[in-house]
C-alpha cells in the first residue's frame, strides 16, 4: 500500500479509537499519539520527497497510486504529491498537532469535539494527497461538513448564525465548483478524472472561459475571495480556538491550493485571459481586508480580516501566473497558515484568561503574561512581514514574482498590493499598543497567570516553524518552485 494513504488512515483510526475511548485521559492520549504520528509521517514524507528528487527523479508527481472505486465514471482514489502538496501536508500536520494541545482543556463533550476535529483533518489530508478531481471534491466536502458542528456546538458568541452562514456560503460555492469539475471532465473528453489525464486533454477555449470562472470562483470563496469573504470573520470569531486555527491555517488554503491545481493547471488559456478580472477583485481584497482590520476591536475579527487580506494575496499571486509568484503564493499559504494559527492560538489563550476579546477592555497585559505577550508581538511582526519571519519571505517572493509579469496593469495592481504592508503595520501595532502595552486597564487582570506547558508547546512549535521558514527559506522555496516548473509543463 502506498504510504500516502496513511495520511487518511491515521485520522480515521483516530476516529475509531475515539469512539471506544472511555475517559478524558484516553481521548487526549489518542489525539496526541495520532497527531504526533501525523507530524512524523509528514517529516518522513518530506525527507523521502527530497531524497527522491535529489536522486534525479523529475516526475511531476511522486509516490503515485490509483485505485478505481466507481467504475461507471471511472472515478479513482488516486494519490501522489509534488513539492506543493508536501509543504501543505507538513503545514496541516503541524496545525493539527498544535491544535490538539491548544484544545487541552476543551469541554464539554471533549470526545465528540475531537471526533469531528479528526474528521476535519481526514478531509484536509485527503484533499492534499488526491489527484482525482472527484475524490478531491469528496475530501473537500468531508472537511467542510464538520465545521458546521464544531462551530455550532463548541463556538461562542452568535455561533448558530456564523456556523450557518459559513456552511451555506461554502456549500453554495462547492455546488458551483462541482458543476465546474463535471464540466472539465465532460468538456475535455478525458476518460478519467485524474488530473494528469485531464491535463493532456485540453478543453476548447470557449468552454475554458466558462468553467475556469466556475472552478476559480468555487475554490476562491474558500480562499476568501473578495467580495465573498464575509463568512470568514464571523466564522472565525465564533469558532473554538483549535477550529479557528485549523480553518484559517489549513482549510482556507484548500481554496488557494485547489484554484491553481484545478483551475490554473487545467485551464491555462482561460486563466491568462480572465485573470485581470479576478486580479482586480483580489487586489481590492488585499487592501480592503487590511483597512477593515484597522477598525475592528475584537481580536479575532482583527485577525480574521488580516487573513482575508493575506488569503487574497495568495489568490492574487496565483493569478499572476509566473513561476516566482506561484512559489510566493505557496510560501504565503504556508507562512500565513502558521502565523494565523499562532494568532488564533494566542487569542484563544488570552481569551481563556481575560474572558474578553475586545482590545478596548484590556491593557498592559504584557507585564502580566510576558510569554503570551511576547509571542503575540512575534506573531504580529511575522504578520506584517518583518524579515526573519516567514511573512517577509512569502510577501517579497510574491511582489517580485508579480512584478515579473511585465504588464503595466498588473504592475500597478502589484504596487497597490504592496501598500498592504503599511496598513498591516498600522493595525498590528495599534492592537499591540492597545492591549499589551500601556498601563494595566483592568485590576482583575493583574492576577492572571501566564501560559501552561501545553500552551507553550503549541506556541513554541508554531514560532519555530515561522522562524525556520523566515530564516532559511532556500530549500523550501526551491522545492516549491521546482514543482511549478513541472506543473506548468504539464499544463502546456
Amino acid at each position: 500500500m502506498n504510504f500516502l494513504s496513511l495520511f487518511v488512515l491515521i485520522p480515521l483510526l483516530m476516529i475509531l479509537a475515539l469512539f471506544v475511548a472511555r475517559s478524558r485521559k484516553q481521548v487526549l492520549g489518542i489525539m496526541v499519539a495520532g497527531s504526533s504520528m501525523l507530524v512524523a509521517l509528514a517529516a518522513f514524507l518530506a525527507y523521502n520527497y527530497i531524497t527522491v528528487r535529489n536522486s534525479g527523479n523529475t516526475d511531476p508527481m511522486l509516490f503515485t497510486a490509483a485505485l478505481s472505486w466507481f467504475k461507471p465514471l471511472n472515478i479513482q482514489y488516486a494519490v501522489g504529491v509534488d513539492g506543493v502538496s508536501v509543504v501543505m501536508l507538513c503545514l496541516s500536520a503541524v496545525i493539527v498537532f498544535t491544535g490538539t494541545f491548544v484544545s487541552w482543556k476543551m469541554a464539554p463533550l471533549t470526545k465528540e469535539f475531537f471526533l469531528w476535529f479528526s474528521l476535519l483533518a481526514t478531509g484536509v489530508f485527503g484533499f492534499f494527497i488526491s489527484l482525482d478531481l472527484f475524490t478531491l471534491f469528496l475530501f473537500y466536502e468531508t472537511a467542510l461538513i464538520p465545521m458546521y458542528l464544531l462551530i455550532g456546538v463548541w463556538g461562542s458568541g452568535k455561533k448558530e448564525y456564523s456556523a450557518m452562514k459559513l456552511t451555506l456560503m461554502l456549500m453554495g460555492s462547492s455546488m458551483i465548483l462541482l458543476v465546474g469539475i463535471l464540466g472539465i471532465y465532460f468538456g475535455s473528453g478525458a476518460t478519467s478524472m485524474h488530473i494528469s489525464e485531464l491535463a493532456q486533454h485540453p478543453m476548447p477555449v470557449e468552454l475554458q472561459y466558462f468553467f475556469f470562472t466556475l472552478t476559480f470562483f468555487g475554490f476562491g470563496v474558500l480562499g476568501a475571495l473578495f467580495p465573498f469573504h464575509t463568512w470568514s470573520p464571523d466564522g472565525h470569531a465564533s469558532a473554538p480556538t483549535a477550529v479557528s486555527m485549523l480553518h484559517a491555517g489549513v482549510l482556507m488554503k484548500l481554496g488557494g491550493y485547489g484554484s491553481f491545481r484545478v483551475a490554473i493547471t487545467l485551464m491555462p488559456a482561460a486563466a491568462e485571459k480572465l485573470s485581470p478580472i479576478f486580479l482586480v477583485l483580489t487586489g481590492i481584497g488585499v487592501v480592503y481586508g487590511a483597512f477593515a482590520a484597522i477598525r475592528q476591536t475584537d481580536l479575532k475579527y482583527i485577525n480574521a480580516y488580516s487573513s482575508v487580506s493575506h488569503c487574497n494575496l495568495v489568490l492574487f499571486a496565483i493569478l499572476m501566473l509566473t513561476q516566482t509568484s506561484l512559489t510566493g503564493a505557496v510560501l504565503q499559504m504556508l507562512s500565513h497558515g502558521l502565523i494565523t494559527a499562532l494568532f488564533f492560538a494566542l487569542i484563544g489563550m488570552i481569551y481563556g484568561r481575560t474572558h474578553t476579546r475586545l482590545i478596548t477592555d484590556m491593557g498592559g497585559l504584557m507585564k502580566i503574561m510576558p510569554f503570551l505577550g511576547a509571542s503575540f508581538v512575534i506573531a504580529g511582526f511575522s504578520n506584517i512581514g518583518v524579515p526573519g519571519f516567514s511573512g517577509f519571505v512569502a510577501e517579497m517572493t510574491i511582489f517580485v514574482g508579480s512584478f515579473e509579469n511585465g504588464d503595466l496593469f498588473r504592475r500597478i495592481l502589484t504596487i497597490a498590493a504592496v501598500t498592504s504592508i503599511v496598513i498591516g503595520a498600522v493595525y498590528i501595532l495599534r492592537t499591540v499598543g492597545k492591549f499589551l502595552q500601556g498601563p494595566l486597564q483592568n485590576e482583575e487582570h493583574g492576577k492572571l497567570d501566564d501560559a501552561h506547558w501545553f500552551e507553550r508547546l503549541a506556541v513554541v512549535t508554531l514560532i519555530a516553524g515561522i522562524l525556520y521558514l523566515g530564516s532559511f527559506p532556500t530549500g523550501i522555496s526551491n522545492m516549491i518552485s521546482d514543482s511549478f516548473g513541472s506543473l506548468l509543463q504539464v499544463a502546456k
Binding site: 516566482t324 511582489f399 517580485v400 502589484t414 503599511v422 502595552q437 498601563p439 518552485s481
Partner: protein
C-alpha cells in the same frame, strides 16, 4: 577577511542568548555579556578597518571585497537574494562608527539604566539593533539591505517603546515604525522597479557604472520620466524616511521617548544616517544616470536642514532640540551628496558627506549621552528645570561644550572640518545654496549654544535632592567620545573615502571657512547674550511672534499628518470600509438568506397539513399533466 562575519554573529548570539534567558540572568550578568560581546565587535571592527585601509589597495584605488556571499532565496531565473558581507571604504568606515558608538552606549547604559525593570530585555534589543545595523552596512545587495533596513526599524520600534507602560512611548514607537514603514514601501517599490529592469539586486553590478545594465530602465518611459529615475527616486524616499527628511521627519522628535542612550545610538549616530548611507552606496547610479534625482536630493536636504534648524531654536525639551539638530545635520549630509559629482575635486561633496557622517556620529552621540547625564541628574527633559549645572557636573559640562563647539563648526573641533568641506562643495555647486547652508550653520551655532547656556549657566534651580556628577560608567563614554570630537577633524579622510575611490587631499577654502566661522561665532554670541542669564526671560520680538508660535508647533506638520491619518484614513476610509463590509457585502449575503426565508414563508401555505387539500392538488396536477400529454 572572513572574520568580519563575527561582527554580525556576536551581537546576534548575544541577542538570542539574552532574549531567551532574560528571566534567568541577573542585571549585572546580562549587561556584562552584552557589553563584552560589543567590545569584541568593536575590536574586530578596528582591526578590520586597519587591515582594510592598510592592505586592500591595488594601485591608487581601494578594492571592494566580498568575503562571503551565499544565496538566501531564489526568485525566478536571474534574481536571487544573497546574504553576504561587502567591504569597501564606506562600509568599513561605518563599521567603526557603529561599533564605537554602540560600545559607548552599552557601557553608558550600565549606569544609566541601572535598576530599570527589563534591563536584560534592553541589552537584548541593543544587541539586536547592532546586529541589524551592521548587517545593513555590510550588505552585498540591495535586497539584503532592505532586509536589515526593516530589522533596524523593528529594533528601533522595540527600543523606543522600551517603557511600554507609558502611553506616550507606545505612541511614539508606533509612529516611528509606521512612518518609516511607509517610506520603506516606496523603497521596496523602487527595488522592484529597478530589479525588474536590471535583473539584479547586486550592488557590485549596479554601481559598476556600466550603462548596459541600465539600458532597459533608461529607455522605458513612465509618466514623463524613465523607469530608472522613478526607481532611484523611490529608493531615495525610503532613505528619506529613515533619515527623517522633510516631510517624513515627524517620527524622529517623538522617538526621543525612548531611553536616552538609545536616542544617542539609533536616533543620532547610526540608524538615522542609513538613508545617507543608502544614497552613498548607490551614488554611482545617482550621479552617472539620474543626476536629476540627485539634484532633488540636494534640495530636499537643504530645505530640511533649514526647516529643522528653525524649529530647534524654539524647542524647550533638550532632547527635542537635539533631535531637530540631528535632522538638520543629516540635511547637511544629504546636500553634500546631492551637490557632488563623481570624480576628483568635483566629488568633494561625497567625501564631505561621509566625513560629516563620521564626525557627526561622534559628537551627536556625545551630545545625547551628555544630555542623558543631565537628565539622569535632574529627572527632567525641560530646560526650565535646569541651570548652573557646570559646577555640579564638571565632566558632563566640559564634554558637552566640546561637542557644542564641534557642531557649531569652531576650529579645531572635528565638526568644523567636515562642515567646512560640505559648505565648500555647495559653493562649488551653486552660490545660492552655499549661502543658504551657511545660514543654517549659523542657526546651528545659535540653537546649540542656547541649549548649552540654558543647561549649564544661569541660576541654579531647586532640586529634590543634591545634584552630583554621573557615575564612572557614564562619564567614561563621554570622555572617550570627546577624543574623536576634538581630534577627528585631523583625520585625512579624503585619503580613505571618496566617490571614485582615488585618494583626495583636502584643501581648506579659507574664504568659506572664514565666513562660516564668523557666522558661527555671531550665533554663539547672540545665544550667550540672550541665554547666559536665563533668569531674565527672553522676550520674543513682536514681529517674530507668529513665527515663534508656528515653530514651536513644528510648523503644524504633525497636525497635518494627524488630520490625514486620523480623520481621513482611520475615520474616513477605514470606517467606510468596515461599514461597507458589514452592511453592503455582508448585507448582500444576509439579504440572500432573508430573501430565501421570505420566499419560504410565502409558499408555506401549500403545506397546510390538510390531507384533502393535498388530494385536490394531486388530482388537478394529475389531470393537468394528463391533459398536457394528450393535447400537446
Amino acid at each position: 577577511m572572513e572574520y568580519t562575519l563575527f561582527v554580525l554573529l556576536l551581537p546576534l548570539a548575544s541577542f538570542v542568548f539574552l532574549g531567551l534567558l532574560s528571566n534567568k540572568l541577573s542585571h549585572k550578568a546580562s549587561g556584562m555579556i552584552g557589553t563584552a560581546s560589543l567590545l569584541m565587535v568593536a575590536l574586530l571592527s578596528y582591526f578590520a578597518a586597519g587591515e582594510y585601509f592598510m592592505t586592500q589597495k591595488t594601485g591608487a584605488l581601494f578594492q571592494t571585497l566580498m568575503p562571503l556571499n551565499l544565496t538566501w532565496l531564489n526568485m525566478g531565473a536571474n534574481l536571487h537574494i544573497d546574504m553576504g558581507i561587502l567591504l569597501d571604504p564606506i562600509s568599513v568606515m561605518m563599521l567603526v562608527v557603529i561599533s564605537t558608538v554602540s560600545l559607548m552606549v552599552h557601557i553608558y547604559s550600565l549606569g544609566y539604566m541601572k535598576g530599570e525593570k527589563g534591563f536584560q530585555r534592553y541589552y537584548a534589543f541593543l544587541s539586536l539593533f547592532t546586529f541589524s545595523m551592521m548587517g545593513l552596512v555590510l550588505s552585498t545587495n540591495i535586497f539584503q539591505m532592505y532586509i536589515f533596513w526593516e530589522l533596524v526599524g523593528v529594533s528601533s520600534y522595540l527600543l523606543i517603546g522600551f517603557y511600554y507602560t507609558k502611553p506616550t512611548a507606545v505612541a511614539a514607537a508606533k509612529k516611528a515604525f509606521i512612518v518609516t514603514r511607509f517610506a520603506d514601501m516606496f523603497f521596496l517599490i523602487g527595488i522592484l522597479v529597478l530589479s525588474y529592469y536590471t535583473q539584479t539586486f547586486d550592488f557590485g553590478t549596479l554601481t559598476s557604472g556600466n550603462s548596459a545594465v541600465f539600458q532597459q530602465a533608461i529607455s522605458t518611459q513612465f509618466l514623463g520620466a524613465s523607469a530608472l529615475v522613478w526607481a532611484m527616486a523611490l529608493i531615495f524616499v525610503g532613505g528619506a524616511g529613515k533619515s527623517a527628511m522633510f516631510p517624513l521627519h515627524i517620527w524622529l522628535p517623538d522617538a526621543m521617548e525612548g531611553p536616552t542612550p538609545v536616542s544617542a545610538l539609533i536616533h543620532a549616530a547610526t540608524m538615522v544616517v542609513a538613508g545617507v548611507y543608502l544614497v552613498a552606496r548607490l551614488f554611482p547610479v545617482y550621479v552617472l544616470f539620474t543626476p536629476e534625482v540627485l539634484q532633488g536630493i540636494a534640495y530636499v536636504g537643504a530645505f530640511t536642514s533649514m526647516f529643522a534648524a528653525l524649529i530647534a531654536i524654539v524647542q524647550t525639551d533638550i532632547k527635542r532640540v537635539l533631535a531637530f539638530s540631528t535632522i538638520s545635520q543629516i540635511g547637511f549630509m544629504m546636500v553634500a551628496l546631492g551637490v557632488s559629482k563623481f570624480e576628483g575635486h568635483e566629488g568633494l561633496g561625497y567625501m564631505a558627506s561621509m566625513f560629516h557622517l563620521f564626525t557627526h556620529a561622534m559628537f551627536k552621540a556625545l551630545l545625547f549621552l551628555g544630555a542623558g547625564s543631565v537628565i539622569h541628574a535632574v529627572h527632567s527633559n525641560e530646560m526650565e528645570n535646569m541651570g548652573g549645572l557646570r559646577k555640579q557636573m564638571p565632566i558632563t559640562h566640559l564634554t558637552f561644550l566640546t561637542a557644542c563647539l564641534a557642531i557649531a563648526g569652531i576650529p579645531p573641533f572635528s565638526g568644523f572640518f567636515s562642515k567646512d568641506e560640505i559648505l565648500s562643495a555647495t559653493y562649488l555647486y551653486n552660490t545660492g545654496l552655499g549661502v543658504w547652508m551657511t545660514l543654517v550653520a549659523g542657526l546651528t551655532a545659535f540653537y546649540m549654544f542656547r541649549l548649552y547656556f540654558s543647561i549649564f549657566w544661569g541660576k541654579e534651580k531647586q532640586h529634590a535632592h543634591p545634584l552630583h556628577e554621573s557615575p564612572k560608567s557614564m562619564t567614561f563614554p563621554l570622555i572617550f567620545l570627546a577624543i574623536p570630537t576634538l581630534l577627528g577633524g585631523f583625520i585625512p579622510f579624503g585619503q580613505f573615502v571618496t566617490a571614485d575611490r582615488a585618494p583626495y587631499t583636502i584643501h581648506m577654502d579659507l574664504m568659506v571657512a572664514g565666513i562660516s566661522v564668523i557666522i558661527a561665532l555671531v550665533g554663539i554670541l547672540i545665544a550667550r547674550k540672550l541665554y547666559q542669564h536665563p533668569e531674565k526671560p527672553v522676550t520674543v520680538p513682536s514681529g517674530l511672534k507668529g513665527f515663534h508660535k508656528a515653530a514651536s508647533h513644528r510648523f503644524y506638520i504633525d497636525e497635518i499628518y494627524l488630520f490625514i491619518t486620523k480623520k481621513i484614513l482611520f475615520n474616513g476610509v477605514s470606517r467606510a470600509f468596515a461599514w461597507f463590509d458589514r452592511h453592503v457585502v455582508d448585507g448582500f449575503i444576509n439579504g440572500l438568506a432573508t430573501a430565501t426565508d421570505w420566499f419560504s414563508i410565502r409558499i408555506r401555505g401549500f403545506q397546510s397539513g390538510e390531507i384533502q387539500w393535498y388530494a385536490w392538488v394531486f388530482l388537478f396536477g394529475t389531470l393537468l399533466i394528463t391533459a398536457l400529454i394528450l393535447f400537446i
